[in-house]
Subunit: 452 residues, 2 copies
């Protein structure tokens, strides 16, 4: 048994180190090479559609059997199914990722240090990325496409319920790119077991970033069990604050849409804060409309004491202020000032997405600056916090971390940068000491260009 | 004893949580407030110069006593001394940090999502930063100034040899900023003991970034003992590669300056790689000149077999290729191709700074793209890898990490970003379903502006 484990370890480690080599080669490829590889993936998926459907059917049938016994929920079965439009969506996604501008070797800043000595800060891939995703097999296609476009090698682990689908999709993708000159072998590895995940979480010398997607418990587990940087989010406790200077109708629309447009997302409103000056009239109406939409309200004492809401509001407990319901439940609290709202959000929120409804531009600025979250909105639904809606193209995930990337993460979040300095024989000794040559430090409006 | 420890824990934790509050307030300050605070620091330091010198004298005398007994080195005594010009340099640094452009609330990208629905990605402070620095007390002033300018709260721990100097400097800085309207109390805390450091390394819920400065062993210790993100570097194993198409004189200047301009820095050349076509003539001359500069050469067998270098080259062992000598020692190896040089650097280097000397622009591109280091140069000394030389102003440290910041880190590396969305009541329901309103996703050439 120990021999088997040792062999398995050695296989994955070999793959991870191979991914590092592949990533270095991928980094230097022309964008046309990566785009050709993406086109080949789309073509191969189309050609292998029947085989992919057959594998997916095995997963769906197994899941249906479990669902019939009540061992898993029906929504999981639906998420697994590629055959009802998700296959087409995945194909479209590959093409739309290919159509994005090249995220690599873009100049972020160019500085002349001296005549003939020019410094460029350019975008480069992060390197080797481990992505552990939920059971949707279409996510595998999206993640592979985003990593390939951004020049990163990827180790992928999907849900075990989608094992047949994931295996054939990974196989089709790898074989499609094998035929493209310039794409290195080993850029994508599919992991099969939970033990594989445990093992890669320990490879902080070989993997540069882990992206956990799926349940918040799993994301929290990953964050607690690896020294590798993690991009992801656990809780999404998002707030709508209706300011004293809010427009009544805007506030109603935003408060309701943020809750019910989709109750199960990380950017769904979980707490509604209302300024005392607006509370009575606004909450009477909002609680009525939310009730008609089947939303259960949990309010503080002041909310419960409002005339006309009698019996429609349960008592909120301290736990409600930090609860992520992901359900038709909303906690509601009355605050006496903008500052109290900001403090409440910073204390109980999850730094994900929070919105103020107000016509007072100075209040809006104080909220935008004071709320310490990845996305902070004025007069707009929290549900806008999404890579596609932000215009980032496809999204690899949402980050509530503070470093490198925050909020929805698209292709750019899969890059980092390096400095390139182009000189003509300059040495530091000439710029040191009493007769030091001065630096010019002039910003240049130029892109770094490669010569081949 | 346990009571004392519990009290100490509680004090530091209170300070760290207070730093979080302070950071949130500092983030929203006008740049004029932070610049006024920096000016007040400079004025107070000038006014307290005698007291600061007196405290510094205590540290220097204690260190001199230890040095006389041979318990510490003379260079450490010199590093401690503020009185021989370092005080003025620290004052200049405060003023030059104040003169930098505001790093906060700068728009990185503005996107119109729809008419009247505009998304801004703006820079914001990271939050609470822990900096553990070497014995130079002037570093405290520089770090405090950089953190204040960038709106971050800071927990600072200096070397115990500089305890008196650090204590008075921190006290002068904190008192100077107490008088500035808008600067929150608690933005700077001085830690006093190693136990304090151990404690803050465990506060991953309260501290956003740790910056260890000083020995590589200490940086490695910090990286291994905290879940907080770390910006720093351990090894600096930097290379100069002399290509087949190198200009002989440029190669000689760059190879020698990279080694001897200052042998003790992290961007000092530790290995010289030479293409076989250039090796004989170039190495005969380079080894002679390096020998005259008292540099000990450790070469591979091919270097040792060159005519005319007999007896001047020790045999390099495998360990030499990854050694950071920080001394008058250089390992030298002959390679047969550009690719062999790139592979050697990626395998044995520390991803810090590496340079190619060549007149072949395509070779330069392959090196710049293929070497996976934070700074990659063409025809320039490795010693240019420095925040001041890069035009970043003062430098908080150098990062060999891949995420968030790489290479020299200035004010910008102390910021992250958040998304601000300004709407007029938009809800996601209108942009969903079969009659969905489309997004415009138009890039805007506009800065986000605050209204007060």
């Amino acid at each position: 048994m120990s021999t088997v484990t040792a062999q398995a370890d050695s296989y994955l480690r070999t793959r991870a180190l191979g991914a590092r080599d592949a990533a270095r080669k991928l980094a230097a490829t022309d964008p046309s090479v990566r785009d050709a590889a993406l086109a080949a993936i789309a073509t191969a998926m189309e050609a292998e559609r029947d085989a992919i459907y057959a594998a997916n059917t095995l997963d769906c049938e197994a899941a249906s059997t479990l669902a019939a016994k009540g061992e898993i929920g029906e929504p999981l079965v639906a998420r697994l199914d590629l055959r009802q439009g998700k296959f087409e969506t995945a194909l479209d996604m590959v093409q739309s990722v290919a159509a994005q501008p090249d995220p690599l070797w873009q100049t972020q800043r160019a500085t002349e240090l001296d005549d003939g000595l020019e410094l460029f800060r350019v975008t480069v891939p992060i390197g080797v990325i481990g992505v552990i995703f939920e059971s949707r097999p279409d996510a595998l296609v999206q993640i592979a496409a985003l990593c390939l476009k951004s020049g990163n090698a990827v180790l992928l682990k999907g849900g075990s319920e989608a094992a047949h689908s994931n295996r054939i999709l990974a196989d089709v993708i790898v074989r499609a790119t094998e035929g493209i000159e310039g794409i290195p072998a080993g850029w994508l590895t599919l992991l099969e077991t939970r033990g594989d995940v445990t093992e890669i979480l320990g490879m902080d010398d070989a993997i540069d970033l882990i992206i956990p997607r799926g349940s918040k418990d799993f994301a929290a587990y990953v964050m607690a069990n690896t020294k590798i940087p993690v991009t992801g989010h656990t809780d999404g406790v998002c707030h709508v604050y209706v300011d004293a200077a809010a427009d009544f109708d805007k506030a109603l629309r935003v408060a309701i849409d943020s809750k019910i447009q989709d109750v199960s997302t990380c950017c769904t409103e979980e707490t509604l804060l209302v300024h005392a000056d607006m509370a009575e009239g606004f909450l009477q109406r909002a609680i009525k409309e939310l009730g008609e939409a089947k939303v259960l309200i949990r309010g503080d004492e002041r909310v419960r004491a409002l005339p006309g809401v009698n019996g429609q509001v349960e008592a909120a407990t301290e736990e409600d202020w930090s609860a992520e319901y992901l359900d038709y439940v909303l906690s509601v609290k009355i605050v006496d000032s903008l500052e109290e709202a900001i403090d409440h959000i910073n204390r109980f929120g999850s730094a994900h997405t929070d919105t103020i409804v107000t016509e007072d531009k100075a209040a809006a600025t104080r909220f935008l600056q004071g709320v310490d979250s990845a996305s902070v909105f004025v007069n707009a639904s929290t549900r806008f916090a999404d890579g596609y809606r932000y215009g980032l193209g496809a999204e690899i995930g949402i980050s509530t971390g503070r470093l490198h990337s925050r909020g929805p993460v698209g292709l750019e979040g899969l890059t980092t940068y390096k400095y390139l300095l182009e000189g003509s024989g300059q040495i530091v000794d000439d710029y040191s000491g009493s007769d030091a040559r001065p630096y010019t430090h002039k910003l240049l409006d130029r892109q770094w260009t490669r010569v081949s």
